[in-house]
C-alpha cells in the first residue's frame, strides 16, 4: 500500500517559503494549507484551541480563494493577536469559502515563534487534482 502523503510540506523559494498542502477533498486541502501556513509561524503542537473565529471569503476562482482565505487568517492573526491550529471548512465552492478556525492568543514564551509572514502571494499559485485527491501550492512573502 502506498504511503499517505503528509497533509502539508514546506518548500524553499529563493527569499521566501512555500507550502504544498493535500487533501482527499478540496476543503481538506484548503484546511491543510492554513495549517501549513501557521506551522511556519509557530509550533502548532503548543497551540491550544481556546478561541474560534468564523471566516467567509469570496473570489473569482479557486486560486483567488486560496489567497483570500489565507490572507483573512493572517489578518485576524495580526489584528486580534491569535494563532490557529485547526480549521474546519464548512462550505466551499469555486468562488466562496466558509470556515471556522480554532486557536488561542499568541504567547511568545510558549508558542516558539518562527517566521513572520508578510503576505500570501499569487506567485506560482496552484490549485488542482492529484492522485485522486486535491493539492494546493502557495508561496508566502516573508
Amino acid at each position: 500500500m502506498m504511503e499517505q502523503p503528509p497533509p502539508f510540506e514546506v518548500f524553499d523559494h529563493t527569499a521566501d517559503v512555500g507550502i504544498v498542502a493535500r487533501g482527499d477533498t478540496l476543503a481538506e486541502a484548503f484546511a491543510n494549507a492554513a495549517r501549513g501556513m501557521f506551522s511556519l509561524m509557530v509550533d502548532l503542537e503548543r497551540v491550544a484551541e481556546r478561541e474560534e473565529r468564523c471566516i467567509d471569503v469570496q473570489a473569482d476562482d479557486p486560486e483567488g480563494l486560496v489567497v483570500h482565505w489565507l490572507s483573512e487568517l493572517l489578518f485576524i492573526s495580526e489584528v486580534d493577536g491569535l494563532v490557529f491550529r485547526r480549521f474546519d471548512v464548512d462550505a466551499l465552492s469555486d468562488t466562496r469559502l466558509a470556515a471556522r478556525a480554532f486557536g488561542e492568543p499568541l504567547d511568545i514564551g510558549r508558542h516558539n515563534p518562527q517566521l513572520m509572514i508578510k503576505a500570501v502571494t499569487r506567485h506560482q499559485l496552484q490549485v488542482g487534482r492529484e492522485d485522486g485527491g486535491y493539492r494546493v501550492r502557495v508561496i508566502f512573502d516573508i
Partner: protein, 487 residues
C-alpha cells in the same frame, strides 16, 4: 548555465549585459542588467532574468527594464528591478513596488568610538531589543486615533517630528523629507488601517534588522566627512532596515485585486498575471498611487519612531545626552517604491513614474532633491549587507542619473533559500559564532538566525564593487556590526 542566457544576453562591458527586445515578442524596450560574470551566472539559476524581460512588456516603459546586481526572483518584477513609465500612456504596478511599501533603511552617526561602546554592547543591545518592538506579534507602544492615522498617511515622518520624535534635521536627511505628496487616506481600506494601528513603531522580522556598527574602511574621505562619518575607522553608527509593516502589506494585497481587474478592463496584455497594473491616468492607477503614498508615509513615520527610541536607548545606556553623543541622521532611503520624478529622456526633461522594487535612489551632486548639506557631494546611498560581515555607505552619481533613473542596488541579495541555509548550518549556533566574532546579538528566535547568516547572502562587497565600477554609485565607507537586533 540555465537556459543558455549567455547566448541571449549581449555583453556591453564587464558590468553590463543587454537583453535585446528580440528575446521575447512583446518586449517594448531592451533589458539592461548590471552584474559581473559570476553574478550573472548565479542570477541565471532562477527566473530573475526572465522577469526582466517580462517587465519590458509594460505599457509606457522608457529606456530599459533595469536590473541591479543584487536581483533575484520576485513576484512579477524581479527584486532589484527598476522600470520607469511615461505618465501619459504608462502604467503603475503594485508588483513593481512590492508588499512592503517603502521598505527602506536609515543610518544614524554618533561621536562615539568602538572602544567606548564595546564594554556596554550587551546592555545596549538588550536595551534596544526592549525599546524597539520586533518579531512576531510585536505591538508598537504608540496608540493613535483614526484621525491621527489619517494625518500620518499624509504627513509621514514630519508628524512624528512635531510630536518630539526627532528633529527638523532628520527630515532634511530623509528621502523626500519623509513624505511623498498625493497620499489619500480615502483610498486605504479599513483592514490596512487596523493593521497599521497595531504595528506603528515596530521593526518586523525576517531580513529586517537594527545594528550598531563601527566604520571599518573609508574610501572617500570628503564624502564620508560630509555625511557625518568624520571620525574615521572605529566611529560608531546605527543602521536599521524596516518598512510599512502590515499597513503596507494590506495596501498591496488590496490593490493586487483591483489591478487584476483593471488589467483586463484596459486590455493590457501581460506575460505574467503578477505584473497586474493600470494606466497611471486611470482611476485605479491614481487610487493605487494615492494609497501607496499613504503606506510610504506610514513607513517613514515608523522609521522616525524607531530612530527616536534608538536614540533614547543609546543615551540611556551611555549615560549621556543624545546631543552629546551626536546621534544625527545621515540619511533615510526607500527601496520599495514608485515615485513621480523628472528625468532626462532623449535630451528632454520628462516626468516619469519610476518603480524601484528592491532598488535605492542614488541622485548625484547638484540634484535639487539632494539635501542642501549634501548638495555638493550627492545623495547618501545605504547598502546593507549581512549581520556577520558588513554594510556600505555609498553616494549617488551622474552615471546613475543617466542610465538607471538615479537608482542603484539595495543590498546583498539572497544566495541561499531559508531552508538551504538552515540545512547547511545545521548544528551550528549562529549566535555563538557571532559572539566569537565580537558581535552581540538578540533575536526573538535564535534557531532562525541560520536563515539570515552570512552564508545565505551574496557578499555585499562584490555587489558594491559592481556598482562602483559600473559607476551607478560610488563607495564611501564600510561598516561592520558590533551589535545586532533581529525580529
Amino acid at each position: 548555465m540555465a537556459k543558455g542566457w549567455f547566448n541571449v544576453l549581449e555583453k556591453v562591458d564587464d558590468y553590463r549585459w543587454r537583453l535585446p527586445t528580440g528575446y521575447k515578442t512583446g518586449m517594448r524596450v531592451p533589458g539592461l542588467i548590471f552584474a559581473d560574470e559570476p553574478m550573472l551566472r548565479s542570477m541565471a539559476e532562477d527566473e530573475a532574468i526572465e522577469q526582466v524581460a517580462n517587465v519590458a512588456f509594460l505599457p509606457g516603459i522608457v529606456g530599459h527594464s533595469l536590473a541591479m546586481p543584487d536581483i533575484h526572483w520576485g513576484y512579477g518584477f524581479p527584486i532589484g528591478g527598476v522600470a520607469a513609465m511615461r505618465l501619459d500612456d504608462g502604467v503603475v504596478s503594485p508588483g513593481g513596488v512590492g508588499f512592503d511599501i517603502n521598505c527602506g533603511t536609515r543610518l544614524l552617526r554618533t561621536n562615539l568610538m568602538e572602544d567606548e561602546v564595546r564594554p556596554v554592547m550587551k546592555p545596549l543591545v538588550d536595551q534596544l531589543f526592549r525599546d524597539v518592538p520586533s518579531g512576531l506579534g510585536a505591538h508598537g507602544p504608540l496608540r493613535v486615533s483614526n484621525a491621527e492615522l489619517d494625518e500620518i498617511m499624509v504627513r509621514g515622518a514630519a508628524w512624528m517630528v512635531e510630536r518630539g520624535y526627532g528633529t527638523e534635521a532628520d527630515l532634511d536627511a530623509t528621502e523626500s523629507r519623509g513624505a511623498i505628496p498625493g497620499a489619500s487616506p480615502a483610498t486605504v481600506s479599513q483592514r490596512a488601517r487596523q493593521r497599521g494601528h497595531e504595528q506603528l513603531g515596530t521593526l518586523g522580522a525576517g531580513n529586517h534588522f537594527l545594528e550598531v556598527q563601527a566604520v571599518e574602511a573609508v574610501y572617500d574621505e570628503a564624502a564620508a566627512r560630509a555625511f557625518g562619518l568624520d571620525l574615521g575607522v572605529g566611529q560608531v553608527v546605527v543602521f536599521f532596515h524596516c518598512g510599512s509593516r502590515g499597513f503596507g502589506h494590506q495596501v498591496c494585497q488590496d490593490y493586487l485585486d483591483v489591478m487584476e481587474k483593471a488589467a483586463r478592463k484596459y486590455h493590457i496584455s501581460l506575460p505574467d498575471k503578477q505584473l497586474a497594473c493600470a494606466p497611471i491616468k486611470s482611476k485605479e492607477g491614481k487610487d493605487y498611487l494615492a494609497a501607496m503614498a499613504a503606506a510610504a508615509n506610514f513607513a517613514w513615520a515608523n522609521r522616525q519612531a524607531i530612530a527616536h527610541w534608538t536614540r533614547q536607548a543609546v543615551a540611556r545606556v551611555l549615560g549621556r545626552s543624545v546631543e552629546e553623543i551626536g546621534l544625527q541622521q545621515v540619511y533615510d532611503v526607500a527601496h520599495n517604491i514608485a515615485k513621480i520624478e523628472e528625468h532626462r529622456v532623449d535630451a528632454r526633461r520628462t516626468r516619469l513614474c519610476v518603480h524601484r522594487k528592491g532598488a535605492t535612489r542614488a541622485f548625484p551632486a547638484g540634484h535639487p532633491e539632494v539635501p542642501t548639506k549634501y548638495r555638493d557631494v550627492g545623495q547618501p546611498v545605504l547598502v546593507p549587507g549581512d549581520m556577520g560581515r558588513y554594510s556600505y555607505l555609498c553616494v549617488g552619481t551622474e552615471q546613475a542619473m543617466a542610465e538607471t533613473w538615479g537608482s542603484t542596488c539595495h543590498g546583498a541579495g539572497r544566495m541561499q533559500s531559508r531552508g538551504a541555509a538552515k540545512r547547511a548550518l545545521k548544528g551550528i549556533d549562529i549566535a555563538a559564532r557571532l559572539q566569537a566574532q565580537g558581535i552581540v546579538i538578540r533575536a526573538q528566535n535564535r534557531a532562525l538566525l541560520a536563515e539570515e547568516a552570512s552564508e545565505a547572502y551574496k557578499d555585499v562587497a562584490d555587489v558594491v564593487e559592481v556598482l562602483d565600477r559600473a559607476g551607478i554609485a560610488r563607495k564611501v565607507a564600510r561598516m561592520r556590526p558590533l551589535g545586532v537586533i533581529k525580529g
